[in-house]
């Protein structure tokens, strides 16, 4: 495989697209495998989409016909906390800190700051609406680079949502935007912010309305 084809394969991987059809030589296998391993280790991407899980269940239900009870319908699998812990764990592991994995998986996701070795820090908080309804979680991890990850569940909302971080001195930083489908979505990004100085985060609609906010302890 020449470098142009390898670049095309990597471009597809990075963009989250199918790798497509191309002929690879045996000596390419190690490099392709490495590219896949790197992409697969990116925090936040290894969890299946809930819509996919539900759709496949429905398809199998049809296929199985009488083998599955017609009344059985998929129970929406709420993966919020465990998935978030897993993502936080993978962030920590990519950063090389196993201790952080143990810390986050042994505690509930709630406003907290988990001290980890070597000056790194892992902070979590829960998004709540103005009516104090839980609508997601956020993890910020200080490393090189620092990361923020969040999952959001805002029923009846679909479309673009913006995330804004608030620092302890009152300044705000726009982290980025992402799409909510059927009210749910996940987002992760490296950040150039001192995680230790974060006070909170806000989820803002394209019209500027704050639909949920979170406060780090």
């Amino acid at each position: 495989m020449n470098s142009r084809r390898l670049s095309a394969f990597v471009d597809a991987l990075v963009a989250g697209r199918r790798s497509g059809n191309l002929r690879a030589d045996p000596e390419d296998a190690d490099v392709l495998r490495m590219a896949i391993a790197l992409r697969a280790s990116r925090p936040g991407d290894a969890e299946p989409d809930e819509q996919f899980v539900s759709d496949l269940y429905e398809e199998l239900l049809d296929q199985a016909d009488s083998r599955l009870s017609p009344s059985a319908r998929p129970v929406k699998i709420r993966r919020g906390r465990t998935a978030l812990a897993a993502v936080a764990a993978s962030i920590a592991l990519v950063g090389g800190t196993v201790a952080a994995t143990q810390a986050i998986t042994q505690r509930p996701v709630a406003p907290s700051a988990l001290q980890v070795p070597h000056g790194q820090i892992l902070r979590t908080a829960t998004f709540e609406t103005a009516g104090h309804q839980v609508s997601g979680q956020i993890v910020a991890y200080r490393s090189h680079p620092s990361w923020v990850f969040m999952n959001v569940d805002v029923p009846h909302y679909a479309g673009t949502i913006f995330c804004r971080l608030r620092a302890s001195n009152g300044t705000t930083v726009d982290v980025g935007k992402f799409e909510l489908h059927n009210g749910t979505g996940e987002f992760s990004r490296s950040i150039q912010v001192d995680v230790g100085r974060l006070r909170g985060a806000e989820l803002v609609t394209s019209s500027g309305s704050i639909i949920a906010s979170a406060s780090f302890a």
Partner: protein
């Protein structure tokens, strides 16, 4: 007639071939079994997806392959089997499905599933969402690379920057970024091989 069997059932549940008409044979079933198809699906879909994702690195292919495993498995699968047997069957099916995927798309088995090694993906205790040491291994590989090689791979694969964005972040040309990425991947692959030895 007594309700108590005259002979003890064989623990392996196999019929002895005795001609005794009123002997009751019991099949010893592992208590850890699935009771219905939905529980097979719900218990394994996330885990199987994660395994496939780790082998192909993109969501569309991982979803297609996960779907194919369940479609293929659910016909012949026997619910009377233990959870371990069901998962082993899913894993063997997954191995075949993945091998077929690579044969079609690259003509080369870039990644594979080893049922003995990868059973941890399906058999880990509930709540353990990270059965793989892949992130740790990736971190180790990246740490072993020269700074510029590590940076281009971080920008591309972990921060999902386009090659143009990565070039801008590193203040180099796009052509240089492509060369750097190519060399960095080769060196990372070499480091990975050394770690395996």
């Amino acid at each position: 007639m007594s309700s108590v069997p005259r002979r003890s059932p064989r623990l392996d549940g196999q019929h002895t071939g005795s001609s005794d008409g009123d002997v009751i044979y019991l099949r010893v079933v592992d208590a850890d079994v699935y009771t219905d198809w939905e529980s097979v699906y719900r218990d394994n879909v996330d885990r199987l997806y994660r395994l496939m994702y780790s082998r192909v690195g993109n969501r569309p292919d991982a979803e297609d392959l996960t779907s194919e495993v369940f479609r293929t498995s659910f016909g012949p699968l026997r619910l009377a089997s233990s959870k371990g047997e069901v998962r082993a069957y899913l894993l063997v099916t997954a191995r075949t499905v993945l091998a077929s995927h690579w044969r079609r798309h690259l003509g080369l088995a870039v990644t594979s599933i080893d049922p003995a090694r990868d059973i941890a993906y399906l058999a880990e205790p509930p709540g353990s969402e990270q059965p793989s040491d892949a992130p740790l291994r990736t971190g180790t590989i990246l740490a072993a690379l020269p700074d510029r090689y590590r940076r281009i791979l971080e920008l591309r694969f972990l921060e999902t920057c386009s090659i143009k964005e990565a070039a801008q972040a590193m203040d180099i040309t796009v052509a240089n970024a492509k060369v750097l990425q190519h060399r960095a991947l080769h060196m990372a692959a070499k480091v990975a091989l050394e770690l395996e030895q």
